[in-house]
Each structure stands twice: as structure tokens, then as C-alpha cells.
């Protein structure tokens, strides 16, 4: 359920609810999305878009923090497997 993917805000088009609209870029594919639910979003912010509506402002810092944590903490448990050398 609920396919939603991140894209970055290119520019605001109008800010009057319920028409709050901005152009959002998904790897070069651009679509006008409704930002009524994330009025605080700024240009270059990542928003998560579902059915043409941004449902949240993506917290990229939190995302990278989680990835860092996972890479450092979740090491392979001692099951005789060699650890990943990249961290």
C-alpha cells in the first residue's frame, strides 16, 4: 500500500491552501505536487510524495544517521562469518 517516494522541491508555484503547489523533481522527472501537508518545505528539501501529494518532509540527516548507525553497530554476529571489510 501507499507507494511514496522522495523527490526534491524545485520551486514553489503557489502557497494558498488547498492549492499549495510546488514543482518536485524525481531524478529529472518533474511533477507539480501539492504541498498542503508540508507547508514548511523549502526549495531543495526532500519531500515524500504519494499520489501527487507530499505527505512528509524527509529528514535526510536522520536517514544518514540511521545508515551510519547500522553500518557501525549491526556487525555480523559471531557466526563464523568474516565481517564486512568496508567499515
Amino acid at each position: 500500500m501507499c507507494l511514496a517516494i522522495p523527490g526534491h522541491v524545485v520551486r514553489w508555484l503557489r502557497r494558498d491552501p488547498p492549492f499549495c503547489e510546488a514543482e518536485v523533481d524525481f531524478l529529472g522527472v518533474r511533477r507539480v505536487c501539492n504541498l498542503s501537508c508540508v507547508p514548511e518545505a523549502q526549495v531543495a528539501d526532500y519531500v515524500i510524495v504519494h499520489a501527487g501529494v507530499a505527505i512528509s518532509l524527509m529528514d535526510a540527516a536522520v536517514a544518514h544517521q540511521l545508515l551510519e548507525e547500522l553500518r557501525s553497530i549491526e556487525n555480523p554476529v559471531n557466526r563464523g562469518e568474516p565481517g564486512d571489510p568496508h567499515e
Partner: protein, 370 residues
Amino acid sequence: MKLIDEFRDPALARQLVESIRGAATRRWTLMEVCGGQTHGLLRHGIDEELRDVVELLHGPGCPVCVTPATVIDHAIELALRPGFLLTTFGDMLRVPGSDRSLMQAQAEGANLQMVYSPLDAVKLAQELPSTQVVFFAVGFETTAPATAIAVSQAQALDLPNFSVLTAHVRVEPAMEAIAQAEDCRVNGFLAAGHVCTITGYDQYYRLAQRYRMPIVVTGFEPIDLLVGILRCLQLLEQGSTEVVNAYTRSVRPAGNVAAKEILQQVFVIADQPWRGLGEVPLGGLILAPKFRRFDAVDRFGLERTSIAVEDECQSGAVMSGRIRPTQCPHFGSRCTPQSPLGAPMVSTEGACSAYYRYSNLVPLNTSPAS
């Protein structure tokens, strides 16, 4: 793709699989609530990979599957009326109503337009002033704000030719219905990340306490799914009934406040029939009185009928986790994606279809990975 690729990192996924194996002292049964999670688990082979430590039950979070056949019949009826244009998501086109799907009705002359967003249906109504444009609105709390914004726009524009046929459902009552069933086998829930993006997860503490099971808010990419499973197993091993957010980049405890306000303006909570599960108390969203004039059922005098009993399809048992799709007597024989008996075999995220497509009914013989 930024903020997607990182969450599909094969090395990190392998590492998490090992952590999950290390965390489990027994085999646990989890339910992923959302059909999008089911899709991801099967698409990436995560359920098979972890089969020995965790059984994953596929939950009811497929709006396509739980939309009552009678509502689909209404959609078909409207699409066949002269001067009407029915718009909806691609997901709904193949789902059978009582006797046929929208796509089959199109061959009989039904006027259909697939849209990516309900807001595009509003634009269509502006462009086609002499056509009644109906948006067939399905989905959970994730999708409901889009419908709410569309209705608000129609109100602001005073559009006389736009209406919505709504079948919006709420996840939490369905989770509760599953948790309180006597034969419930679920040890912990992976809650639907995009629903929680809207609703938050404060409301899950009560559920977790009452039914003594941990709930982990989980995303959709492979790394998100593995982290959700890992956190849930860790809680189960500790005997904890905590609520944990494992989809922090999108979900805040109170959800999206602006979105919830929009929902509260436009919708009211109501009992709702779910296909396969029957009437779910407070399980749906219907238009608030102030917006009722945009309700297609009211406007066009459709009959509000109670849910028909689905005789052959055992979707209720499947979606509440009582049986696996493969335990249904019709699975893969009388019921296939080409010729479905019920909705869960239609949608690519329906539990039965997902099983039919991805599940290794017999183990693969292919050589191991390089």
C-alpha cells in the same frame, strides 16, 4: 536515486540478515500490516531468506483488496452513465466487483480515465464542465489527504461536476480486529510506515499494551524492512511490548499535523464494510456533512448496500493471518492472477497475488550467489 538507493544496499542487507539470525532464539510470527511491505518482502526475497527465524503474515493493508465489491459496482454504474467520466488509480482497474471489473466494463463502453492523483481529476472537471467527473477514492490514511485536498479544491472552486466515490479505510481498527481475535497468531506488528507518516504512532501504545505485542513502525525499502524485523525480534526476545519507530526519516510520533487537520475538516470516522473482513467498527472515513455534496453516492442516488458475502474467496482468513494464501483450497487452481476469485489475487500487492508471483513454492535449484 538519493534516499532510495542507500536503503537497497546489498552489503548492509546481508549484514542485517545476519543480525536478525543472531537476535532470534526461536521462530517468531510477525505481521507486516501494509501491502506495500508485503510487496517489498517478496520482491527482494526477504521472507524466504528469513524463513527459519521469522514467519511473516501478510496483513490487511491493501486498500484494493478491502474495497467492497458493491463500491466497485457503483463505480462501474457511474462510468457507464452518459456524460460521466470515472477517474481512479491504475490499481483499481482489474479488481472484480460483483460480476466484472472496471477494465471489463470499459469494453462495454464505460468511460474511464486512469489518474496518478485525485488532484488531476479536479483539473479534468475544470476542463470538462459538461462532464460529471467522479474520482473513485480508495486507500488508507496515506491516500485520504489527497482525496481531502481534492474535495477542498472542488469546494473552493465551487465545481458542480466533481464528486468522489469514497472507500477510504483506517488501519488501526483493522489491526485491533486482528489482534483481538482468539486465534490470532501474531507476535508483533510491523506497522505501515506511510500510514504512520500521516497518523503518527501515539495511538499504538494502547494497542501494544492491551494485546501484549510490540509494534515497530516500518518503511518499505529492503533495509527498512530488515531493520523493522530486527527491532521487532529484539523487542520480542526481551519480552517488551514497546512501540518503536524504525522509519524515522518520514514518521514523527504525532504524524503529520497539517495532514491530520485536513483529514478532520473533510472526513468523519465511520463504521465501514471491508471486503473479506466484514464490517469494521470505525474502520472508514466518509465525507463530513459540510462536504457531503461531493459524495457521488448521495449526488447520484446510488443505493448504499451492505457488503455482499464473498462466498468462495477466503480473503478475510488470509488478511487476518489465520491462513496463508497457499492454504486456500482455490489458490493456484481455480484462483490465479489471470482469473481471480477475489481481490487479494488481483492487486500486485494483494497477499495471494504476491504469493503466486514470488513465493518459492519449491526451493530454487539455482547456484549460489557469486
